[in-house]
């Protein structure tokens, strides 16, 4: 029986969702942070999309958000010219850190400079790395935090973190819209124009590239490297076979351009953030039981539709004395 994807919409944001990041898998599951132009980034449980909390404090649109690996800290960057680090457990804005090991925050912005802040000494001046000739769009740690990858309008650069010098640079034909670093396999996923390109994160050499039907704003590679997903200006989400480049699935659903897509750390779902102000969760394997999705065995389950979503009802068929609110035959409304 063919199954149709039921995306899960996570509401709460009131303006476009422009960035997303997942944490690694922690003892409490994995987490998802979303950056929104309403200035209020949100933390959600990664596999269900359930809201956990909102980081309050920014006074402008939040353009970037990320989590550390165990989701104990969040970092956000906003149009109020500040980057903030948060305790992702309590939701508090962190002013000082009470930890032995130092942690670093990397920022890059319109002033073409990369800055590295030592969070154990937040009052100290950050290390500054110059070299970009146009505003920095994206900056990431790579190679176990020994290197930095950054992109501006025309180039993607690789830096050595210790010497703070540029190791390699490549030119890009169009402005880079997104960058994702995949540690296992050292792959860099870059999008520009309608192109989704895969480069070696160590040499910056291109491995392969695909063209999408419309301008792509973000792409993400599945942890097992079987698939990639991409979304952009035509409001649609595309899933490709990474090895062959074949388009496997595509979905309408968002009401505005898609700004960001990310696979979860276990690869079971991917999240998309859109201009329409929503975050949606999509199953990698449609029909599999995972998170809030439940595999339905024909004839044994009831479904009812609420706001167009097929909700599984739990009916006790065995009890003859129970007052049944629903009819005893399954109703599936088209």
């Amino acid at each position: 029986m063919a199954m149709r994807q039921t995306p899960l919409t996570c509401s709460g944001h009131t303006r476009p969702v422009v960035d997303l990041a997942f944490s690694d898998i922690t003892p409490y599951g994995y987490f998802l942070i979303s950056a929104c132009k309403d200035g209020k980034p949100m933390l959600r449980q990664g596999d269900t999309g359930d809201w956990i909390g909102t980081f309050l404090g920014h006074k402008g649109a939040v353009w970037g958000a990320t989590l550390n690996r165990d989701a104990t800290k969040a970092a956000t960057a906003a149009a109020d010219f500040t980057a903030k680090v948060w305790d992702a457990v309590s939701g508090d804005e962190l002013i000082t850190l009470a930890q032995q090991d130092s942690n670093y925050l990397l920022t890059g912005g319109q002033d073409k400079l990369l800055r590295i802040y030592d969070l154990s000494k937040p009052e100290a001046e950050p290390q500054v790395v110059s070299g970009h000739t146009s505003g920095i769009k994206k900056a990431l740690w790579s190679s176990d935090d020994k290197q930095i990858l950054s992109a501006d309008d025309k180039t993607v650069r690789l830096w050595d973190r210790n010497t703070m010098t540029e190791v390699k640079a490549i030119n890009v034909s169009m402005s880079v819209s997104s960058m994702e670093y995949v540690p296992v396999g050292e792959i860099l996923v870059i999008t520009y124009g309608r192109t989704i390109a895969f480069h070696s994160a160590e040499t910056l050499e291109q491995i392969k590239s695909f063209e999408a039907p419309a301008t792509v704003n973000s792409a993400s590679l599945h942890p097992e490297k079987e698939f990639l997903v991409a979304g952009g200006e035509d409001f649609k989400l595309y899933k490709y076979d990474y090895n062959t480049g074949e388009e496997l699935e595509s979905y309408k659903g968002h009401f505005g351009p898609i700004h960001c897509v990310r696979f979860s750390p276990d690869g079971e779902l991917y999240a998309s953030g859109s201009e329409d102000g929503t975050l949606r969760l999509w199953q990698t394997t449609v029909g599999k039981t995972y998170g809030l999705w439940k595999c339905v065995v024909p004839g044994k389950n009831f479904m009812k539709f609420e706001n167009n979503f097929p909700i599984l009802t739990t009916e006790d068929l065995a009890s003859e004395n129970s007052d049944s609110i629903y009819s005893s035959t399954p109703e599936v409304k088209a």
């Binding site: 919409t9 949100m42 595509s250 809030l292």
Partner: protein
């Protein structure tokens, strides 16, 4: 609901147990009673969930009393001139009319600003640092 373009309208939609929970609208979240919070948060931050029943009850009663006092202060403000200290070194004054239920916006009239007087205005509470008034 979304439909795959490659096979329009085909197949039975995957069922879900429920929809993701959204913000509860009453707080910023980060439930102090969640297992993760209990395990990872330093004792000094969480004020609830770590004490005994009597402490929690006393704290809750204190919160109730403070909340009620604050709500009554909003009622008392109606019709008075309030002086607001805002961000960016802005100070304005206005007659207070009402607050919305979440205390996110204040409805004011005759708002005196450096640019002139606004007959009716909404002040975003997140822009306000402090306000004073005399009874």
């Amino acid at each position: 609901p979304a439909q795959p373009l490659t096979r329009p309208g085909h197949g039975v939609p995957v069922s879900v147990i429920r929809l993701p929970h959204g913000p509860d609208g009453t707080s910023r979240g980060f439930d102090p009673n969640s297992p993760r919070y209990q395990a990872l948060s330093p004792i000094s931050i969480s004020t609830m969930g770590c004490g005994n029943e009597a402490d929690l009850e006393r704290e809750q009663q204190a919160r109730v009393a403070l909340r009620e006092r604050y709500l009554r202060s909003l009622i008392a403000m109606v019709g008075h001139t309030i002086h607001f200290t805002m961000y960016e070194r802005v100070s304005v004054s206005a007659f207070f009319d009402a607050s919305d239920i979440d205390i996110l916006n204040f409805q004011v009239s005759d708002l005196q600003t450096p640019l002139g007087v606004h007959r009716e205005a909404l002040l975003r509470c997140s822009d306000i640092i402090s306000y004073t008034f005399e009874l």
